[in-house]
């Protein structure tokens, strides 16, 4: 499994309120949520994001609320992977459970710049910045997490078992 796309880069503590503001949580439709993804931190994100693009951020990405709407809106916006120094724990769980690939890699998170073209190999955990030629070793997913992501989420994975 691989992901490749252009990078949207953010800083520390990107919280779930800026990923998907609560004023839109009266909907649970992924397409509708995607229209407002990252709105309060980056108004142009949804205009510019293309299928396959990658979000890179520093520490504690996804802190705050338990709203699964946050990874749902990111996935529905077309993002193929989120790379960060660290993730908040509920966001981490939610992303795996809905089948949004995420990967912790402090070196990559620090080095990769906005707009770079990046490729992620989930089997090996290797992250390659094609713009700069640098490579980074991210944490590879344990097998059961890869299976959940391939099944597009925990529910399908449980059903398939």
């Amino acid at each position: 499994m691989k992901a490749e796309g252009k990078v949207f880069k953010y800083g520390d503590n990107v919280d779930t309120d800026v990923i998907i503001p609560a004023r839109y949580l009266n909907s649970s439709d992924p397409k509708e949520l995607a229209l407002h993804c990252m709105e309060d931190i980056d108004k142009d994100f949804i205009k510019n994001v293309k299928k396959g693009d990658i979000i890179v951020a520093n520490k504690n990405f996804g802190c705050g609320s338990s709203r699964e709407h946050a990874p749902i809106s990111i996935k529905a916006s077309g993002v193929s992977c989120v790379i960060a120094e660290t993730f908040a724990r509920i966001f981490y769980r939610n992303a795996i459970n809905i089948g949004l690939p995420i990967i912790e890699c402090p070196d990559a998170a620090k080095a990769i710049a906005n707009g770079d073209d990046v490729c992620v190999d989930f089997d090996s955990g290797i992250i390659t910045d094609k713009t700069t030629g640098q490579s980074f070793q991210g944490q590879a997913f344990p097998e059961f997490m890869q299976k959940i992501i391939k099944a597009e989420g925990l529910v399908n994975y449980i059903n398939e078992k």
Binding site: N60, R67, N94
Partner: protein, 421 residues
């Protein structure tokens, strides 16, 4: 090597004699919780499952509280979805408008959370029940769905930070100041993936409402859970509110902690978190004039009876500053009723505040007190992220009920001593 209090509860629920930090386990659940925002997503996920029934209709709590009474048509549809699911599966603990309250104030009050439980809730502030000696943690909707279907959840066993609390809080200093002080010290990811285990003889000097507030905001330091030992006050609370038997766990004497932090409660001062992170703390005595437009007293963090009593004591016989909006939100119907009986509601209304039915409302920028561009709010809620209470260019200052009430009188961030109390 000994186990922490959290590890002992998790081991017992996983059928294991011992667990270690980092170990992946599957634990039996005593309660699965959801609200009107997270439950519809969970219900939709459950519909996709091959399992079509809930594991135990008595061990699920559904509490529409975020956007209720329904704020708009879409919210009404979400609540309808939760209500229909509750009826279809005959869920014992479904709380309709009129009986509902803010989930984390309501469930302990209803006796649904007791010491020794393992509880997951599709709401990040589910960690509140650690005040009673339970392991409780926030999860997302898919975990909630799997929990409702199977009665189990997987966990990575957390390591812990031990907080040794000594001494006694000064007048007008409360649990909110303690937890803001701690978050200011360790940061919003200071306890990431860890338990915050509170110990020490200072705990005996903290009321139950103080402990609920402290455990409630463990998530704002990134923690998996916050937990208090069970003492006479906690036993008394559970005996008064619950018919369920509870089980007390205590950390082993040789339990291993990643860090030990000692805090003398008598040194803590009224504290405020500046925008836009709970870790941006300042003591009120150290700040310049900050003029405000709104005060909110309520939420799962600070909408309990102690909080309302404290605010009323400060507002009694005084008036809200000109041009300021003050919104008081009792967290449950029982708290609301008690506030009426004790004359607190009259004090708030006479002072010029508005008193609302229980709702999470403004805390997450839902409704009932949204901020315009450039406006500032002193709020007893738990998060001050960008845009959390309204416009992306509005500001939230997190504070205790005492600071919020004093600020309501002066129209700028103040503490009770500033108005001669």
């Amino acid at each position: 090597m000994g186990m922490t209090m959290t590890q002992k509860i998790l081991a017992a629920h996983a059928g294991l004699d011992e667990v270690k930090a980092g170990q992946l386990i599957e634990a039996d659940l005593d309660l699965v919780l959801g609200n009107d925002i997270t439950s519809p997503v969970a219900i939709h996920e459950m519909e996709k499952m091959t399992v079509k029934t809930v594991f135990d209709k008595d061990k699920i709590a559904l509490v529409p509280d975020h956007f209720v009474p329904n704020k708009d048509i879409k919210s009404a549809e979400h609540c309808k979805c939760v209500r229909e699911f509750a009826m279809k599966h005959d869920i014992t603990n479904y709380f309709e408008v009129g009986q509902m309250g803010i989930e984390h104030a309501l469930l302990p009050e209803q006796g649904l959370t007791v010491a020794g439980d393992v509880i997951i809730g599709a709401d990040s502030h589910t960690c509140t029940y650690g005040a009673l000696g339970a392991f409780s943690t926030g999860v997302g909707s898919t975990d909630m769905a799997a929990g409702m279907a199977t009665g189990k959840a997987w966990f990575k066993v957390p390591s812990a930070i031990q907080f040794v609390l000594t001494g006694k809080l000064n007048q007008w200093v409360s649990g909110k100041d303690v937890i803001l002080h701690i978050i200011g010290m360790i940061g919003v990811d200071g306890a990431l993936y860890q338990s915050m285990e509170f110990t020490g003889d200072g705990i005996a000097n903290l009321s139950m409402d103080d402990r609920f507030t402290i455990a409630n905001m463990a998530i704002e330091a990134g923690a998996k859970n916050g937990i208090f030992p069970v003492d006479d006050l906690a036993r008394q609370y559970m005996n008064e509110h619950s018919k369920r038997p509870f089980k007390e766990y205590a950390a082993d004497e040789d339990a291993e902690y990643d860090r030990v932090i000692e805090i003398d409660l008598s040194t803590i001062k009224p504290t405020v978190s500046f925008p836009h992170l709970p870790e941006n703390t300042h003591t009120v005595d150290s700040i310049d004039d900050i003029v405000i437009n709104q005060v909110v007293i309520g939420s799962c963090t600070n909408g309990r009876l102690d909080d309302l009593r404290c605010a009323a004591k400060i507002l009694e016989g005084k008036k809200v500053a000109k041009g300021l909006r003050v919104i008081v939100i009792p967290a449950t119907q029982a708290i609301y009723l008690k506030a009426i009986e004790e004359g607190l509601v009259q004090i708030f209304i006479n002072a010029g505040a508005v008193v609302s039915t229980p709702t999470c409302g403004p805390c997450l920028g839902g409704y009932m007190g949204i901020l315009a561009e450039g406006e500032r709010c002193v709020s007893t809620t738990n998060r001050n992220f960008v845009g959390r209470m309204g416009h992306v260019n509005s500001e939230i200052y997190l504070a205790s009920p005492a600071v919020a009430a004093a600020s309501a009188v002066t129209g700028k961030i103040s503490q009770p001593v500033d108005i001669g109390m």
